[in-house]
Symmetry: C2
Subunit: 183 residues, 2 copies
């Protein structure tokens, strides 16, 4: 096959940013990942033509909000329309919530939100890669188990096929890291 | 929550590289993503202490092989032991296959392999982010449907929870990109 974006499955995330006046926008992305463990950093790729690209360039902050399958329709919508033309919070009825350490809002309907400050921007071809240092993480009480750890299945994460443009749920637990070494 | 790696679900990939003599190694990674669409690029993060880090630094090439749940045990093993001490191809019985455009081998048991040449290396904290341009992609005939498109479910992809260190399968199809705009 000729070169394409074939790394799968991709996560699906809702990135919030703000303009200089504080007006928030949302963009749905699948080119996103954890890239550094210590100190924690994430990377998100956004095309220069996208409205969020300019906002993040100018304000240097973004929040990676993790959607659930309950808001799949809203998630799909935020990846297709432009914040230049519509107010995505208003259209989707998703609820902005004040973040702790950055100006862009969290999205109330997302159980995990990762607040980030931009440390590095790398332009390659069609995308800018924004590398953000994680400054804090907000987690809904509802997705914690009795020991206050995150219950992964409660997150109802969405994953994405770059080949077909289809959204998928996360399936069954297959094993835990290190299981191959146990007798 | 304090800052951590909270972007999920993460993909699970087997990255192959070679030393100057052509001897191959395998490393399992979850910090990996598509980062540029045109021309296609992927990013993989590898700690400087890992054996594969030096190999990729010195030879400038790597292959991102996509494992299936059928080789989950081998995949787990390749993320835990070091290529400095063991021959992971020999230990796992995974089969190296000559790549088309780079020196590191493909892994026969992986239905999709992405051949890459390093274009950029960014060190942040505990990891080096290697940005690779995709030079070609190899796909097994067996995962294609009748129209020669990739059948996503046949890939038996593995996904990963950064919170719990658990591997998960991909679940059910939830919808296709753009569905929110259809009447």
């Amino acid at each position: 096959m000729k070169p394409s974006n074939a790394l799968y499955p991709a996560p699906v995330v809702l990135v919030t940013s703000v303009d200089e006046g504080g007006k928030p926008n949302i963009i749905t992305l699948a080119w996103a990942a954890n890239i550094v463990s210590v100190p924690p950093h994430v990377g998100i790729s956004v095309g220069p033509q996208r409205y969020s690209n300019g906002l993040i360039h100018r304000t240097g902050e973004f929040v990676v909000n993790m959607p659930t399958s309950d808001i799949l329709k809203e998630t799909d919508y935020c990846g297709i329309v432009s914040g230049r033309k519509v107010d995505k919070f208003k259209d989707t009825k998703l609820s902005p919530v004040k973040a702790t350490k950055v100006k862009p809002p969290l999205i109330k309907q997302c159980p995990v939100s990762i607040e980030c400050k931009v440390k590095n921007i790398i332009n390659i071809g069609s995308h800018d890669l924004f590398i953000g240092e994680v400054v804090t993480i907000e987690v809904d009480q509802e997705v914690l188990d009795q020991r206050k750890n995150i219950d992964f299945k409660k997150l109802k994460a969405i994953t994405y096929s770059p080949f077909t443009g289809d959204y998928y749920s996360v399936g069954e637990k297959l094993g835990q890291i290190g299981f191959s070494m146990k007798k």
